[in-house]
Symmetry: C2
Subunit: 432 residues, 2 copies
């Protein structure tokens, strides 16, 4: 029998307790032994809890961390402290640790994995990225023979839900966000999701694994979806694209990586374009396996519990030879200014002769050639102009836009969105 | 250092040797030790081989099976014998075995897993289903806390390529098959793929894992794509569907399973509809995780080598507690006559008053209600009639069709294809 201590009894903690109870038989059969929840750490004994937690609650972390009978500590509190300190102590006390904490893993992974290795125990974190979708273990084990060339994904359900609502129901951003909050897909303060920080933490974790180098969230260039408006969604549709918040990392040189979270216009037949609503997906490109994609529910009580319990079973099962941190390399994350992309720009300018020429001039001076220009929607004497560039470095675009914003006849640059090259392999849709 | 013996140096064997050499450094870094190919079993020493094989070739299986230095035997010969006997001997000699052999695993898994467990070694077979796509390990480990409700997939690249060609390029079956053969996606004798047997073996393997019960290929109901014609593809498109060869298994009762490989019309926004060309995908529905899908190249030299080498690394890495066969249950695979589905029927009948009434009568007598009837394409006095039923047991349909075939005015029943209920979750496309 395996004894576990659960730290935190929020949504995911409750899901884990319920899953261990409801699927007790199946789990015991597959593992070859029972999993017993011995203690559960909470902060408030008076709160109403799942009946399965009865008799196991404690307010004292040491009741778990210092109990010699407890083999696996399951950290589901979230947040940086005291979660990080508890994880450290558990590892020091030679207990396996299973966590869903993307903040702690993405920022302090190096230190904690070294500690786990020294103690000869497992530190497992499948639930920290992509909820229930198997990602970490497939990447670390199943794709272990590949050099990873690129990973890109939709890693945040809140923003994907909002963009889907805007796309399919033509709701504007605020309405879509309110709907997400109503359904529990967004927090009352949704900035972590909306601004892309949640996706950035997850990208830091999976790109560290993919490229065997330590990438922390501060190294990731982050843009959220706050500026996406219905007009952008519509123009994207007209041009054959769908806007997604894409987290991607890829090798751009022998020892250089690009890591970016930003809204991207994807061709309608891109594998990620088919991922809608709260679903997440990660597309991995390996030099042997080619393109592989994992898709499923990136968050939610039971999907996340599914990943946590699978890790508990692995911790119970793993023998002496574990997979430790494989961040043996030290690659450089390039400055985002050097990253190249195609860009969509939507701006408002006075509908006068010569305006387009001045705008194009700014692009030309910065070595940016234009793929397409559409002038639309003249309201009064103000026209909306939409442009798509060819592949250019981001810093060139930023310089061109600085010049354009200064032009007298330009009212504002309403939005700038990256445009992905078409990746039509493997997916039906608009035919190439 | 891990010493391995490779049995068979065909396409996949060559891919494995090349991958171990080309990604030698990455593999050693991640595994923590080197993988050395000590011996390679071939049948013909005179054949031209990859230079990496030099000095390692042998005609004698015992050079590998009886070599105490060899830790892992990699069986890549294919076919039932002598592969099965070699695997048995390797396991008896307490060597780990990695294989891509779906025939041996699907038919003789029970015996071989018991032997592996008795010897305390691993028998790994990720490459036997879905080429490089991580499927086996995610199902056995990452989804281990779930009761699986259903699995469905596109498991054969040859047939998916053919159907995609028919769909997108409007090639007829014979042309599409010739193109597949020209590109190396189909064998000169393609029956194993076309008739669905390859998909059936793979379904047997993954449904055994999903439902913890031994399912052998003979228990799977199999229909191939030989009867699919362009007309069916076109009607499907008109009705908002795409035809795929779907392998699926699901719980239909407490202790009963349905296991079927057959062409199915999927709604255009079904996650599997987006899987085109030679790509494969498996959609798994777990009671905690919900829907999860794995997508990638189901075959091919390097994708398959990717899976084989990952298994070699796992065999090297796995400690004492392995995941053995988890087929502890004994569920019953129901007779396909009891399986229910919607059905599309295309038939040719004389364009006369009363014919439709007789045809409908046959359906009515067998408790089949019709969802839709289209009469088209009258050539001379022969009309093509397309019908879609509501959800009915297969045996009722078979009885109705037997009666219909006997009707004087019915020329022939050109085709019958299952129609899947729409699963619009998670995928863009036609909106519900």
């Amino acid at each position: 029998m395996i004894n576990i201590g659960i730290m935190g009894l929020g949504t995911v903690g409750t899901g884990v307790v319920e899953l261990l109870e409801n699927n007790r038989h199946v789990i015991a059969q597959r593992l070859g032994e029972e999993v017993n929840v011995k203690k559960i750490l909470v902060r408030d004994l008076s709160k109403k809890r799942t009946p399965y937690a009865e008799g196991k609650l404690t307010l004292s972390a040491d009741d778990i961390l210092e109990d010699a009978e407890i083999d696996v500590v399951v950290e589901l509190m979230g947040g940086e402290e005291p979660a990080k300190s508890y994880i450290k102590k558990a590892l020091q006390n030679k207990k396996h640790v299973v966590t869903a904490n993307k903040e702690v893993i993405s920022k302090h992974g190096k230190e904690l994995f070294e500690l786990a290795e020294k103690s000869g125990v497992s530190l497992l974190f499948e639930a920290s990225v992509g909820g229930g979708i198997p990602i970490i273990r497939p990447m670390k084990q199943c794709l272990a023979a590949n050099r990873i060339l690129k990973i890109s994904g939709i890693l945040n359900g809140t923003t994907n839900y909002i963009l889907t609502q805007m796309q399919e129901k033509e709701r504007n951003f605020e309405e879509a966000l309110r709907e997400a909050q109503r359904l529990g897909y967004a927090e009352s303060d949704p900035s972590d999701d909306i601004k892309g920080f949640d996706a950035a933490r997850k990208l830091a974790i999976i790109s560290s694994i993919a490229f065997n180098t330590r990438i922390t969230p501060d190294k990731v260039y982050v843009e959220g979806i706050e500026r996406i408006e219905l007009e952008d969604i519509k123009y994207a549709g007209e041009l054959g694209y769908i806007i997604k918040l894409v987290a991607s990392a890829r090798k751009v040189g022998e020892r250089e990586i690009e890591a970016i979270v930003a809204p991207v216009m994807l061709k309608q037949n891109h594998p990620l374009s088919a991922v809608r609503d709260v679903y997440n997906a990660i597309l991995v490109e390996g030099d042997a396996v080619g393109k592989v994609m994992f898709f499923g529910q990136g968050a939610g009580k039971m999907p996340t519990a599914s990943a946590v319990v699978a890790d508990i079973m692995d911790a119970a099962r793993e023998g002496r030879r574990r997979i430790y941190c494989t961040c043996y390399d030290e690659l450089k994350v390039i400055d985002v200014g050097s990253s190249t992309s195609r860009f969509y720009i939507r701006l408002k300018a006075k509908d006068k002769p010569g305006v387009l020429s001045k705008i194009s001039g700014a692009f030309g001076r910065n070595d940016i050639s234009l793929h397409m220009v559409i002038q639309k929607d003249v309201k009064g004497d103000v026209a909306e102009i939409v442009m798509v560039t060819h592949q250019v470095p981001f810093r060139n675009l930023q310089k061109a836009l600085d010049e354009i914003k200064d032009l007298q006849d330009v009212e504002n640059v309403a939005n700038v969105v990256r445009v992905e090259e078409a990746a039509s392999d493997g997916v039906h849709g608009n035919h190439q």
